[in-house]
């Protein structure tokens, strides 16, 4: 199919060079043939760009490109209208509407990962019953987080830290004072902290987070980006002292599971629902989006003037409204180390390797 499609193009370009400038009609005729082949080839040839990229002449290439694009849009519109008609007809007749075609989403097209965790997996459960976070999840060890910074933090870091201290209910801040990180790990472990968070700043940009679980738990190094302080968010609120709820989304693989547990062990296990405060860690494409909201459930009456049944005109629905508190930022995992901090000579559980990045649809968390 691809071959059949290529030939007319080649023929076309050779012709263009050899003969006199052809009329648009001539072009139209030739590209009429192309169209037929192209429509077939679209399925096999990839994107329209990939199909037309062989043509070196920019004008011809762009003509063919727009032609193919136009056809594609026409056929799509036609399909859509057809589908809408079918749905309308099915609704009229009271039958089931025809099934919707499957949309290609990121989750659909993600490269299959054999480390996805099955919720009933006995071995994974046995492992997690006894890992570094088990004490936290069995309520035997309440969280106590020590926050510190890189050397010589600036004012931006201080305002960010004040907001982080509001986000994390069990956190304390200590100045860095030039201590080497391995010593800080030891100090914190001696004073019974459960986690150590070190924020890194470079040229007035906060760009890194090192999360060390103590006493000898894993160390995760993140890149922090897209930071927006709460005070810069329009309509923001101030957090109360209630213990927040936690939402962890899409931590699917084994590594993701472990990261989810690590982030969850920063927060106490007994949220106060009356505070209506929620912290969300949403993982998508290996980026962890951190958000901090206050929510409220409200009943709303919706009017449906088109409804035929007078009883259904006023509908009551419960909707949630959100107010954003605190900072919002994005984290990306750079490495996960098995012991406490030893960035060069430790044993790593996960490192991003070039040879593992086999496609743009391959994610690890």
């Amino acid at each position: 199919m691809v071959k059949a499609q290529k030939n007319p193009k080649r023929h076309k370009s050779k012709d263009d060079d050899a003969s006199k400038p052809s009329s648009s009609k001539g072009d139209g005729e030739r590209s009429g043939d192309d169209a037929a082949a192209a429509a077939k080839g679209a399925a096999g040839g990839g994107t329209i760009g990939q199909q037309t990229s062989g043509i070196r002449n920019k004008q011809k290439r762009s003509e063919l490109y727009h032609k193919l694009k136009h056809q594609k849009e026409k056929s799509k519109a036609k399909e859509r209208r057809k589908r809408q008609k079918e749905v309308a007809r099915a609704e009229e007749l009271g039958l089931e509407p025809p099934p919707k075609p499957v949309q290609h989403t990121l989750e659909n097209t993600r490269e299959a990962d054999d480390t996805m965790v099955d919720p009933n997996d006995e071995e994974v459960m046995a492992d997690e019953n006894d890992d570094e976070f088990a004490a936290h999840f069995s309520n035997a060890r309440p969280p106590k987080v020590l926050i510190t910074t890189s050397y010589k933090p600036s004012k931006i870091m201080y305002t960010f830290l004040s907001e982080m201290l509001e986000l994390l209910p069990c956190a304390e801040y200590y100045k860095r004072n030039g201590f080497p990180l391995k010593k800080i790990v030891k100090f914190a472990a001696n004073r019974d902290y459960t986690d150590l968070m070190v924020f890194n700043e470079d040229r007035k940009q906060i760009n890194g987070l090192l999360l060390v679980h103590l006493p000898d738990g894993p160390t995760a190094h993140f890149r922090l980006s897209n930071l927006k302080l709460g005070r810069d968010i329009k309509g923001h609120g101030r957090a109360t002292h209630h213990k927040p709820e936690l939402i962890l989304n899409h931590f699917d693989t084994r590594l993701g599971h472990r990261m989810g547990r690590m982030l969850a062990s920063l927060f106490p296990q007994d949220p106060q629902f009356r505070g209506r405060r929620v912290v969300t860690f949403h993982n998508q494409r290996d980026f962890i989006f951190v958000r901090h909201h206050r929510y409220i459930f409200e009943e709303k009456e919706t009017r449906d003037p088109a409804a035929k049944d007078p009883a259904k005109k006023k509908k009551k629905a419960v909707a949630a409204r959100l107010q954003e508190l605190g900072p919002r930022f994005t984290l990306k995992l750079l490495s996960l180390q098995k012991g406490t901090f030893d960035s060069r000579n430790g044993e790593f559980e996960w490192l991003p390797k070039k040879e593992n990045k086999t496609s743009r649809r391959r994610f690890f968390l």
Partner: protein
């Protein structure tokens, strides 16, 4: 995904035996056997058997396999556990008549590798963790097999396999009557099968360095080299230690002064800025074929030092190799190459052919995302298996450096070894029991004492049947059908694969590998 094909269909009459078998151990104390289907179909490699119950206190820290002559009937597996015990296993072999057999593992007993407790009551056992485990030939020309163990606290002990006279062939087949019987296969160099419970007795014991992290035994079995955090390489002479202990008071060997090391290495050169690394040896390996004089040491500071005991205390060559502590050292049998794995997941080979003059690293094997915990070379083919903290087993070709297969094994893996692949197909009955995940073998635990019954095959079959009556998580239809078949026929020639299911590639073989027998497996490491 590893275990897809197993669930399909049933077995055929004579499934082809797998071309390779690899044994791995992990932090939960499980031993898993991964098989490559016949014809070296690497893309269908899957974990087939799982031995043991998940229990972190019994996590395996070191794994060694002893297989003289690469004979599949004489495999002895020693697993060093976190609590200081060494458990011994062997894969239960298929009996010659091809009937049902327990192709699980057979627990052959265990012994304690840690020093005797000096205080009563609970003490800190973290120093009893096994950090070194090696099979060694017997001392003074005896034929007995020895196992040298080293704990984190520095206690090195040599255990010898005690052979007893008068064990008959019959007992070998039946596996002995009770667990107290000292396994003694025919002594004196005849074919020994490891089918009995074994008794290992401690022969030599010595206290070496504290916080031991690497240990290796020379090929003659005479010297043991250790290194640890805060200690450079030290080599002890085991025969001298044995003589000292024997010639000493004769009472508990803890008496008497600790023997002096034969050789104490010094650190290599300081770095360019004049800083000397703190002593932290993480891996030690004797280079074979050099008359036990050449020792390769890997440090936590990504350096490799080659010591020649005859030439001097400082290392003869030093290689600084990228970042990351050296976690695994594996020499090839001819001593020309040493495969090195580090904490960043890199595996390369150190070329010693022109040592000590010119020592180079090369042959990188790519793909591991986590620290390499263990490496294992196939004895005859150019294959190397590596196991890492990212929970995968990888097999590379040593000649082309290509990644042949990668298997996800769910736990942080700690040890790997090649097993000989069975030469004949296992008997026609292998219930196609499903995969490891859904199984809960609680009911198997109490059966260890019965394992050496005379009719253990039936016993196993019966136990397997009982085991399978409980639907384990995610019981699959084919599996239940198998169970029914298994129970019914008692394992003769059934296998009329009902649902033809996949005749495809390894599927038959998968069954062959007895998932059913996995049910009947013994619990490893139970008698702590």
């Amino acid at each position: 995904m590893g275990e897809g094909g197993k669930r399909k269909a049933q077995q055929e009459e004579a499934p082809a035996p797998p071309s390779h078998r690899i044994l791995t151990s992990d932090e939960l104390g499980l031993l898993k056997v991964t098989e490559v289907p016949a014809g070296s179909k690497w893309e269908e490699t899957a974990a087939k058997q799982r031995w043991g119950q998940p229990d972190k206190q019994q996590g395996v820290t070191r794994l060694q396999v002893h297989c003289p002559d690469w004979d599949q009937d004489r495999i002895l597996i020693a697993a060093g556990r976190a609590g200081g015990r060494v458990t011994l296993h062997c894969p239960a072999s298929a009996p010659a008549d091809g009937s049902v057999s327990g192709l699980g593992s057979r627990d052959l007993g265990s012994f304690r590798a840690a020093p005797p407790a000096t205080t009563s009551g609970r003490s800190d056992t973290s120093s009893h963790e096994l950090r070194g485990l090696r099979f060694a030939p017997g001392g003074e020309g005896s034929q007995r097999l020895r196992l040298v163990t080293a704990t984190a606290g520095g206690h090195v002990a040599v255990h010898e396999w005690e052979a007893q006279e008068g064990a008959d062939q019959q007992q070998q087949q039946q596996g002995g009557d009770n667990e107290d019987e000292d396994g003694g296969g025919g002594d004196g160099g005849v074919v020994r099968t490891w089918q009995q419970q074994q008794h290992w007795r401690e022969v030599v014991r010595l206290q070496t360095v504290g916080d031991l992290q690497g240990m290796d035994v020379s090929s003659s079995g005479r010297y043991v080299a250790v290194g640890g955090e805060g200690h450079q390489l030290r080599v002890w002479d085991l025969t001298a230690a044995a003589a000292a202990a024997a010639g000493g008071t004769g009472s508990s060997s803890a008496s008497g002064p600790a023997p002096e090391p034969l050789f104490a290495g010094k650190a290599g050169k300081p770095s360019r800025s004049g800083l000397q690394d703190l002593a932290h040896v993480t891996a030690v390996s004797y280079v074979p074929g050099r008359d036990d004089q050449l020792v390769l040491v890997g440090t936590a500071k990504h350096k490799l030092w080659l010591y020649d005991m005859r030439a001097g205390r400082k290392p003869q060559s030093e290689v600084v190799w990228s970042d990351g502590r050296i976690t695994a050292l594996l020499p090839q049998a001819d001593g020309s190459l040493v495969w090195v794995g580090n904490g960043r997941g890199q595996v390369e080979a150190l070329d010693l052919r022109q040592a000590p003059g010119r020592v180079t690293m090369g042959h990188a094997l790519k793909g591991s995302a986590g620290s390499i915990r263990s490496l294992s070379l196939h004895p005859s083919q150019p294959l190397i298996a590596s196991v890492s903290l990212d929970r995968h087993l990888r097999v590379h070709s040593t000649t082309s450096r290509q990644l042949l297969t990668k298997v996800y094994l769910k736990q942080a893996l700690t040890g790997v070894a090649w097993l000989p692949a069975p030469t004949k197909g296992p008997g026609p009955v292998r219930g196609g029991a499903g995969d490891d995940e859904g199984e809960v073998d609680g009911e198997e635990d109490g059966d260890d004492d019965d394992e050496d019954e005379a009719d253990e095959e039936e016993g196993r079959g019966g136990r397997a049947a009982r085991g399978r009556e409980q639907p384990s998580g995610g019981g699959k239809a084919p599996r239940r059908r198998d169970m029914a078949r298994q129970q019914g026929s008692g394992g003769k020639d059934h296998a009329k694969g009902k649902d033809k299911g996949s005749r495809d590639k390894g599927a038959k073989e998968k069954r062959g590998k007895d998932k059913s027998q996995k049910r009947a497996r013994r619990d490893g490491g139970d008698d702590a």
